[in-house]
């Protein structure tokens, strides 16, 4: 902003403060890894999310071997032999006869890289007919690791999109309400309160019930995004409205009005930018809520449906306690959800810490 004069803008000061917070940076890195993994899911995962093999239902993580007959060898996996023990429980045994070396850029199922051009190379894997389950297999013999990456696409983006939509809705409605005041304000705030009144999960379920049955998965996906944002906009709108009520009395607003600028322009360019510091931090802290909301919906079967993967619907498998005991790897989506939530919380906290002085400065300018 004013680098020449030697003064740093408030954003720059805040950003510097943020940079020093190592915990927050770790959070940012982990999130980048997760989102990166989601974007590159086709490439990074050895198998497609749909790739089933009922012979290997609940197969444990395949052990990678580095030694062959006592000698150091290129990492490889063996085949698996399925047998049943006396309780009719599945037991997988190593079949040393079959030897599949781990390969990079292995040829696998076809996909579209970044949705653009077709490609057959996957980052790592084993050649067919070998199966390599890095983190084990689910009920239908699908690779957990691959599904986690694909699931990340759904879970991480639904959360983000829901938050962005709720953020925009909240900002606009709060801005209009705070700026115009009067009966419009009253009406909008009553609307807000109504939405805030119904406990979130109930509203979620009820809205989901209103979605027609015959929607395909893409439409369901977007319906869920919209439903999630319906729940979250009210809280932000109220606070933004409060801020706008005081902001509209400031001199530059009066100046803008006297210049004949349209109301919308004033709201968008002169008032709302000052609410950004609070809004961004509020959004950051609300994203975990959206991710958890989608996970909860999918967990109980009302979200993303099979065969599409989402961390939530992968966990619905884990609702049976017996299965957790014999196949604990099906809980891995929960750890990823937890990790994501922690990262967002940490970043949100760090943002609050460095935006606090900014907010205080905003307050002092009132004089």
């Amino acid at each position: 902003m004013n680098k020449q004069s030697g003064h740093l803008s408030e954003f720059q000061i805040a950003f510097r403060h943020f940079r020093r917070n190592r915990l927050a940076w770790t959070g940012v890195m982990i999130l980048s890894l997760l989102y990166g993994g989601a974007v590159l899911a086709d490439f990074l995962s050895p198998y497609s999310f749909k790739d089933e093999n009922r012979n290997y239902s609940y197969a444990p993580p395949t052990s990678i071997h580095f030694f062959d007959n006592g000698r150091l060898a290129w990492p490889y996996v063996n085949g698996m032999k399925l047998s049943f023990d006396e309780y009719n429980k599945r037991v997988y045994q190593r079949d040393p006869a079959k030897h599949y070396p781990l390969q990079f850029l292995v040829k696998g199922e076809e996909y579209r890289f970044l949705g653009l051009f077709p490609c057959r190379r996957h980052f790592f894997g084993v050649e067919a007919p070998g199966r390599w389950y890095l983190l084990g297999a689910d009920a239908r013999g699908r690779d957990m690791f691959s599904r986690l990456l694909y699931g990340g696409r759904v879970s991480l983006t639904i959360g983000l999109m829901g938050a962005v939509i709720a953020f925009s809705l909240g900002l606009i409605i709060g801005g209009i309400s705070g700026y115009y005041g009067g009966r419009l304000d009253n009406f909008l705030m009553r609307l807000c309160e109504m939405f805030m009144m119904v406990p979130g999960f109930y509203l979620l379920l009820a809205l989901r019930a209103a979605v027609p049955d015959n929607f395909n998965s893409v439409q369901v996906y977007f319906s869920i995004v919209i439903i999630l944002s319906f729940i979250g906009w009210a809280g932000l709108a109220r606070i933004v409205r409060g801020m706008c009520l005081s902001l509209r009395e400031r001199e530059y607003v009066l100046a803008a009005k006297s210049l004949g600028l349209s109301d919308i322009r004033i709201i968008l360019r002169h008032i709302l930018p000052h609410t950004l510091s609070y809004s961004i931090f509020a959004v950051m802290l609300s994203i975990p809520g959206y991710i958890l909301g989608e996970s909860a919906l999918s967990l109980i079967g009302l979200g993303i449906q099979d065969p599409y993967a989402s961390w939530g619907n992968m966990l619905s498998d884990a609702m049976s306690i017996v299965r957790i005991k014999f196949a604990p790897w099906i809980l891995s989506p929960a750890f990823l959800i937890f990790l994501t939530v922690v990262c967002f919380n940490v970043i949100g906290d760090a943002l609050r810490d460095c935006l606090d002085p900014m907010l205080k400065a905003e307050g002092h300018r009132d004089g």
Partner: protein, 321 residues
């Protein structure tokens, strides 16, 4: 004081109407006339269908329908559940109570644990135990509650110490009243814990912050300067002020517990409003869905009202405005 309560009560009424409006709008959003789908089902007699058709007046304009809906609600006519094949009010009552019980248990657990924990953390600020508590709080706060519930159930299955969900053990009826009470309590432990741990972590942090802020206030210095015993300074003067802001959170807490309880109920098979709502949504039992949501909203408003009253009692500055 009474005037204040009355005022809050009056505010609650339009809010209730608002929730009714919301549910009504949602009902109308589902395409088609709902009764058409069940008309063909041989389970339901023509009389029942005709009765409800007349009750809801689908052929009249929307405003009339809405007024009729409100009138029905006031008569506690909540519609018919086609999934369970009984009028809604028959099922909702007990489920409502169960959810309330679970929410109450979670609520009590949260406050009984979080407040002392927060005070203790504040008094031992930045020492090792405080840092431990803060770290664990952070972790617990970020764990999805359904995950916690699953872990608890898993542990229960391994150790056999607690029942694996549901609300009653088989053979409940044959137990003596005391036995029945302990049975329900044993079933309540896991859902209540899963429900409250996140809240405990969050509330403890706030309590600690409040306590630290209050302890830095001038009136605490005065209290010490008066020669009051340290216990009195902390547990009377400081605590009373630190807790006040939390009372405004009571209403919010209760609502978030209600909402969270729904998911926990489903996972732990606790027969409450949440699991009822899930069944209703899955079977597209519209009136049941609407009634559940309405009840959820009502409980929220009642919770808020109670919290407002509690706040007025605790903070004289509000009372004498």
């Amino acid at each position: 004081m009474l005037k204040y309560i009355l005022k809050r009560f009056l505010v609650a009424v339009p809010m209730l109407l608002g929730i009714a409006l919301l549910t009504f709008v949602l009902i109308r959003m589902t395409p088609g006339n709902y009764l058409d789908t069940v008309r063909l089902d041989p389970q339901f007699s023509q009389e029942t269908i005709a009765y409800y058709e007349k009750l809801y007046q689908f052929d009249k304009p929307l405003l009339v329908q809405y007024i009729q809906w409100i009138k029905n609600l006031l008569r506690l006519e909540l519609g018919y559940s086609f999934h369970y094949n009984v009028p809604v009010y028959r099922i909702i009552g007990s489920r409502l109570w169960n959810t309330f019980l679970l929410s109450l248990a979670g609520f009590l657990l949260t406050w009984v644990v979080a407040i002392p924990l927060g005070i203790w953390a504040a008094l031992h600020r930045n020492q090792f135990i405080d840092r431990c508590i803060q770290f664990f709080s952070y972790v617990c706060f970020s764990l999805p509650s359904f995950f916690l519930a699953m872990l608890f159930l898993f542990w229960a299955s391994q150790s056999g110490a607690l029942p694996l969900g549901g609300m009653y053990s088989p053979g409940f009826e044959s137990l003596k009243p005391w036995g029945q009470l302990t049975d329900i309590l044993r079933h309540l432990v896991i859902p209540a814990m899963a429900l409250s741990i996140g809240s405990i972590a969050w509330l403890q942090r706030i309590m600690r912050g409040n306590m630290l802020e209050v302890l830095g206030q001038q009136y605490i210095l005065t209290a010490r300067a008066k020669g009051l015993p340290e216990n009195r300074v902390i547990y009377l003067h400081a605590l009373r002020n630190a807790i006040n802001p939390l009372i405004t959170l009571l209403g919010y807490e209760f609502s978030s517990l209600l909402s969270g309880a729904a998911l926990i109920e489903i996972i732990c098979s606790w027969p409450g409003l949440g699991s009822l709502m899930l069944t209703a949504v899955r079977s597209k039992d519209i009136y049941l869905v609407m009634a559940s949501m309405l009840m959820g909203g009502v409980m929220f408003i009642v919770g808020n009202l109670l919290a407002d009253i509690g706040l007025a009692k605790a903070d004289p500055r509000i009372r004498y405005e």
